[in-house]
Amino acid sequence: MSGDIAVSVHGVKKSFVTAHHVHPVLHGIDIDVAAGDLTYLVGASGSGKTTLVSIMAGILTPSEGTVKLFGTDIFAMDHRHLVDYRLSHIGFIFQQYNLIPTIDAAANAAVPLIARGVNRHDALAAGNRMLERLAIGDQAAKYPHQLSGGQQQRVAIARALVHDPRLVICDEPTAALDARSGRRVMDLLHELAVGEDRACVIVTHDNRIFDFADRILVMEDGLITHDGKEVPVEEDMDGTA
């Protein structure tokens, strides 16, 4: 299923500077994520997964190194173009969904299109269509607080996919769901977010969904310590060996 390189991360280091200390978080990451792959980033809390995925998405600047998305060096762009690039080419699914509570599901799904200046009527129609594809078209007029956790997650997925992005970044997309709902969400992601010209990177601790991965990258202390189809048997997701 793998094709062209979707995400190319080379020599990426990241340190956070506080008043008295420099805290290195990533120590030099080199990975290529192929288009068509569903790639997992796993590792204990504090291993650097979130930092790495934030850098991949262009919302955190690396201290060193380059990140290319589909051949484009995103940190060579000025900030304005990078933000526009994100809006056009990247879809986000957050652990807490971060849906806007005062607009309905269709409008939440349509946010990236509305942000891009698409006519509201067309954007809402596209949001509705995406909700239909995710089998919650009948919930389109409901507000987030009227939906179950699984339904909210589907709205978040619809929002991530509505503008047809080439890269989808997911942060613990199944953490708040039961096993059945979690697998259903992964089915949908696998069906909709992965393709020949696109890729999906998922940060997760959820070993119930590991079998969906085309590739699993294990991180530890700011380094990739394992790269394969499965997680090493001895690896414990709480970070203890």
């Binding site: 304005r80 994100r86 957050f94 807490q96 509570p101 607009i103 990236p112």
Partner: protein, 378 residues
Amino acid sequence: MLWIAIRMLTGDRQKFFGLVFGIAFSTLLITQQLTLFVNFLGRGTTAVYNISSNDIWVMDPVSRTPDTALAMPSTALERVRSVDGVEWAAPHLREGATVRTPDGDLERVTIIGVDDTSLVGLPDAIIAGDRNALAMPDSVIIDSVGTARLFGEEVDPIGTRLELNDRRAVIRGIVDAEPTFTSQVILYTRYSNALTYVPGARNRLTFILVRATDGTDPQALVDRIESETGLRARTREQFARDGVDYLIENTGIPLNFGITVTLGFIIGITIVGLTFSLFIRDNIKQFGALKAIGVRNHMIRKMVRAQAAVVGLIGYGFGVFGATLFIKLFEDDPTFKGFYTPWQIPLLSLFAVFVILAITGYFSLRPVLRVDPAEVFR
């Protein structure tokens, strides 16, 4: 995105109504208090503008306003009449007195003595009775505010006898005149009659009302009267302004109204600031998510501005409506007779609302602009 911004705002009804209330309350307080302030200051001019036929007021050099005046010798009238450019000069007496109504109530009143023959000094608008009835013995004409105060709305006072400074007075008419700052009952009578009502002092001529001949510049005539008679002369506009200045300098009105208007402003900033901050804080994750998705800070600013504009316009509308309603509800009250809201005041309130929203919006927006989109992954 602005549509989403408005929905974010209006969807959180508690905070939306809190914000609208804050702006509306501020606008109401600022507009209503400034309206009262301007109109109360305007009361300093009513004694002058109730009389339309003269160009100039002449008085003792120490006199300041219609209500703060020292009487002159009666000979002053002839001296003024002898000044070149004076078409006519009429005596005008203003003096305090006490009246006892048929019910036995006591009330402080102002007696105004107008010229015996021309009745110069009597307001033009007679709403009951006849101005010529002043020629009858002991006749007085009462102002409409005084009628309401002494007799209420139901009783027709024409023909009613009053005990005015221990003398008989009969009400022969009602005149429509704006009340003065003190809102005292005003009784108009002939000058010669007025002299019998006020206690016997040597000098009782309070003012001389002067009309300039055609083609004479009132200001030039004012200068001439002052130089030739040694008296103080003011054009109508100058004397009206003197009344306003006196109120500003000698009463606590500017300070009291200023404090209330400032409080309205501070309350607006406090309520709107706190509510807006809470609203932003509650939505900071959503704003962070929008930034991560690719919404620029420029658009976030526009969203917050749109939210502020909606709150501001709705709150301002309610506030101005409330202030207008207040004036409308009390228009029949003698204290507020003739009150209106000058167009500049709603504009001033709008500016205050703009400043309130600019200050609160600025401080509320800062955390949104500073939020790191990467935070949504943490």
